[in-house]
């Protein structure tokens, strides 16, 4: 986790490394919207598998798979646990009671703590959504030169400050992970056990004492990076150089994706109208059945 090479983009010769950065960003955006629109666990699971298969295609290293799995599993655990306990929509089915309402004190205060089946399902769906986005985001970060991302974003009229901030984040996030480990060990070497207990006061102290040095170093580093890139002609006044020709095949692929997304949005609207009894096309009965399963 603390090895910065795991987090930084590395050059490669796979299809994903050679794909134009605009194509990658568009795929990410289209899939992000699709994931928000789709509620079907089956479709979401397929999209999640698709995002993982892209990592296979990009030949992500074992360490990167470890990182990805840790994040995804934490996401699934966090999402399912919280939804299982705090799911508020109806109907909801209690499958276990953790704290009976009759328990003195907490029981009366909380009205009982239960695990809801619908909460678990909903949590799993949310976990699939976040896991897919996480996998795609990491894939973009690991296979794309930050300079290319910046150039594309500026080419798409993103303000310079935002673009530079984003890239500084991408550039230094790996270093921050590595340096956090160094600071924690430096604290330990001076007799402070940062993770000995998890009392809020102790955690706050650890957070402050860990963040101070990292923040100071990151600020100094960011200042050097900013000075360095500005000294190489990059800055507020820069007229972004024309982006290279978007490969025709990729360009058509992206257009198809956008059309497909528009189709999904249209179908989702139709499904919603039908579901709420506002508009129904009898000839679409078969399509409604498919939508019910997949959307």
């Amino acid at each position: 986790m603390y090895n910065r090479d795991v987090w930084e983009a590395t050059p490669g010769e796979t299809l994903l490394h050679n794909t134009d950065v605009r194509t990658k960003i568009l795929i990410l955006l289209v899939l992000a919207v699709t994931i928000l629109l789709v509620d079907s666990p089956r479709s979401l699971f397929l999209l999640f598998c698709l995002s993982l298969s892209l990592h296979v295609a990009a030949r992500s290293s074992f360490e990167r798979w470890q990182v990805l799995m840790v994040f995804v599993l934490f996401g699934i655990w966090g999402s399912m646990t919280s939804q299982a306990l705090f799911y508020a929509r109806e109907p909801r089915t209690v499958i276990a009671c953790l704290l009976p309402p009759g328990t003195p004190g907490l029981g009366a205060l909380t009205g009982g703590v239960y695990i809801y089946r619908e909460g678990l399902e909903y949590g799993a769906i949310q976990a699939l959504r976040s896991g897919t986005m996480l996998a795609l985001g990491l894939l973009l970060n690991w296979t794309t030169d930050p300079r290319q991302i910046l150039r594309s974003l500026l080419g798409w009229k993103l303000p310079y400050e935002l673009g530079f901030m984003l890239i500084t984040g991408l550039r230094f996030l790996p270093v921050i992970f590595q340096e956090t480990a160094v600071v924690l060990v430096a604290q330990r070497l001076r007799g402070y056990e940062p993770l000995r207990t998890f009392w809020p006061r102790r955690l706050l102290q650890t957070a402050r004492q860990t963040l101070f040095p990292i923040l100071a170093r990151t600020l100094r580093r960011a200042a050097t990076l900013a000075a360095s890139v500005e000294s190489r002609g990059f800055g507020r006044g820069l007229i972004p150089p024309p982006l290279p020709q978007w490969p025709r095949g990729e360009s058509w692929f992206c257009r198809s994706l956008i059309i497909a997304l528009a189709g999904v949005i249209f179908l989702k609207v139709m499904d919603s109208l039908q579901f709420n009894g506002l508009f129904y096309l009898p000839a679409w009965r078969g399509i409604y059945d498919v939508m019910k399963v997949w959307l």
Partner: protein, 592 residues
């Protein structure tokens, strides 16, 4: 007759005060640099050199927010009139740490960045990138990942990345401070070629004068924001007191020549010839290496000689490693292989080797920053438990060690954590350390807001306050002038005299030769030499293989009289005492 000078850089009455500060960091500087000159800008830490350098491409005032007075012009153009981006075509700027300025993932992309910003066509970009990489000796790395480069290669990449714009002036801010001698030499050779062959004006800020002075034509010295002195290199050699009073270290051959009253030179051959013209220097006996052979002296299987080390009354080492091996998960090669190393009380050991040789890894293992894959570490004969008062570590970057709100809290932090309540607080010991390190009077300051040299000394004080048995320092001399180095070494020597053991990583052979009792050299993850400085620095083959170079005093003494002196004073003393009554005058011919 009017002398026509091709002046390219001019500072006219330049002063600069940073935002929220009342004292100017640069005060009324007037300076001229002619086209094609190689200028060394030097001075004690914090004297305003880097600030002055940032004015060259307009980072000051355009991006600084402070108050600039006076005029800085490059080739007749005021830096106020053009934005930094436009100035970047005239002035290329290279910073201290290559890791902080490298931006892309591949070598090609990094060099192409400036050209893309200039709006150049792809075909031309490819030509220019190839040219820049050829000039910096990185042609074979075009498609390489920037992460696969060594420190020296990264710094040359940073140079190539600005060189691609074909600037008239190159400004470099301590570019070799973090490089090993080999990496530094490679970079300096590239700079020399650019200056000589392409006529690029070079302005370099550096503390490692012995590596830069031989190449430069002009020298400027700053102190407290003012330009104290400027002139030719040869003129500078004639003003040793100027360097000494401002914590600057002249190259050893120059110091030796000066003290012997002969024409100074950084070149060993020239210096030897100059001395031999004036002195008849007798050949010495074969060099005698001080120190008593002890049971640790042995010959390794691979033929590297482990030299003689001090014999100690106390047989129990304060620290010992047995077959220490380390490897990152998922990597093919181990970084350290079977390292056996002992450290005795009172020892002051320099750990040397090229970047990537494994010395920082060893230090981090000893300090507990990393866990060994195999082997063991013992402190006083017991397994290392990584508790606070056993081993103290001062990291290369002191920022990671400063996490309290005041200097006083920082220095007393370890004592409080150890529960030594009686000792906690601003004890006499803490006050003494602070005084010796020159950080007294800063007790209420926020540590991270201090200068780098001060932050390093606070970190050192914080570690020394808990009186560890073993003290490990990672590159404590980086970016420090000799005055600060001497202050730090003085405190460390006092600590060692009380029985503390010290291991410090350094690339500076002169510092190692001057202060260390023992030098351990690492190469390819193994200890390849472990002996006193005199014997280590005589092994030319080993030094070359490990990217190191013997101190100039040793090279000079060897060439002059077959000696093995480590310090300039030793050579001067030998020549003066060995030649008592034999001064042959300025025109004498050397006799052997």
């Amino acid at each position: 007759m009017i002398e026509i000078k091709n002046e390219i850089v001019a500072f006219d009455g330049v002063s600069f005060t940073y935002k929220h500060r009342s004292i100017p960091s640069v005060d009324n500087v007037n300076m001229r640099v002619d086209a094609g000159e190689f200028l060394l800008l030097t001075g004690a830490t914090g004297c305003g050199k880097s600030t002055l350098l940032k004015m060259l491409n307009g980072l000051i005032p355009h991006e600084s927010g402070g108050c600039l007075k006076g005029e800085v012009t490059i080739d007749g153009v005021s830096t106020r009139d053009l934005p930094v981006a436009a100035m970047s075509r005239m002035v290329g700027m290279v910073f201290q740490n290559p890791d902080d300025q490298v931006f892309s993932t591949t070598v090609f992309a990094e060099v192409a960045f400036v050209l893309e910003n200039m709006g150049m066509e792809q075909e031309k970009i490819e030509q220019r990138v190839a040219e820049s990489l050829r000039l910096t000796g990185l042609s074979d790395k075009t498609k390489a990942s920037v992460h696969s480069l060594s420190g020296g290669q990264k710094q040359r990449l940073a140079l190539a990345a600005v060189l691609a714009a074909r600037p008239q002036v190159l400004a470099l801010d301590e570019p070799i401070s973090q490089l090993d001698p080999q990496g530094a030499a490679e970079l300096m050779q590239v700079l020399q070629r650019l200056n000589a062959d392409l006529g690029i004006t070079i302005i370099i800020v550096e503390h490692r004068l012995h590596e830069v002075l031989p190449l430069c034509s002009k020298v400027a010295i700053m102190a407290s924001g003012s330009l104290l002195w400027q002139g030719d290199r040869e003129e500078a050699y004639r003003c040793p007191e100027l360097f000494n009073t401002h914590g600057l270290r002249l190259p050893q051959p120059v110091t030796i020549c000066q003290q012997l009253g002969v024409t100074p030179s950084t070149d060993i051959k020239e210096a030897v010839a100059a001395i031999q013209q004036c002195y008849m220097v007798p050949r010495s006996q074969p060099p005698i290496i001080s120190g008593i052979p002890c049971e640790l002296a042995h010959k390794r299987k691979d033929g590297w000689k482990i030299g003689m080390v001090k014999a100690y009354d106390i047989k129990l080492p304060s620290l010992r490693t047995r077959h220490l091996t380390f490897q990152y998960d998922g990597t093919a090669q181990p970084l350290l292989t079977g390292v056996d190393f002992s450290l005795y009380p009172g020892e002051f050991v320099a750990l040397m080797g090229s970047n990537g040789a494994g010395k920082s890894t060893l230090l981090h293992l000893l300090g507990g920053l990393l866990k060994p894959k195999a082997g063991s570490i013992e402190i006083w004969g017991r397994k290392h438990t990584y508790t606070a008062n056993e081993v103290g570590v001062v990291l290369q970057n002191p920022d990671f060690m400063l996490f309290n709100s005041t200097v006083q809290e920082e220095v007393t932090f370890a004592l409080q954590q150890q529960g030594r309540l009686a000792q906690a607080g601003w004890t006499e010991h803490c006050q003494d350390i602070s005084q010796r390190l020159g950080i007294n009077g800063m007790e209420k300051e926020f540590p991270l807001a201090l200068s780098r040299g001060q932050r390093l000394r606070v970190a050192l004080a914080a570690v020394l306050a808990s009186r560890p048995s073993v003290l490990l320092l990672d590159e404590p001399t980086t970016g420090q002038d000799i005055g600060h180095i001497e202050d730090i070494v003085g405190v460390l020597q006092a600590y060692a005299a009380q029985g503390g053991s010290i291991v410090f990583c350094t690339h500076d052979t002169e510092v190692a030769a001057r202060f260390a009792d023992r030098v351990v050299v690492m190469g390819a993850g193994e200890i390849v030499a472990d002996a006193n400085p005199a014997s280590v620095f005589q092994d030319d083959a080993m030094l070359a293989a490990c990217g190191l170079k013997a101190p100039a005093a040793m090279l000079l003494s060897r060439a002059l009289y077959g000696g093995a002196a480590l310090r300039a004073e030793e050579v001067v003393s030998y020549v003066q005492q060995g030649c008592l009554g034999s001064y042959a005058g300025r025109n004498a011919v050397a006799q052997h």
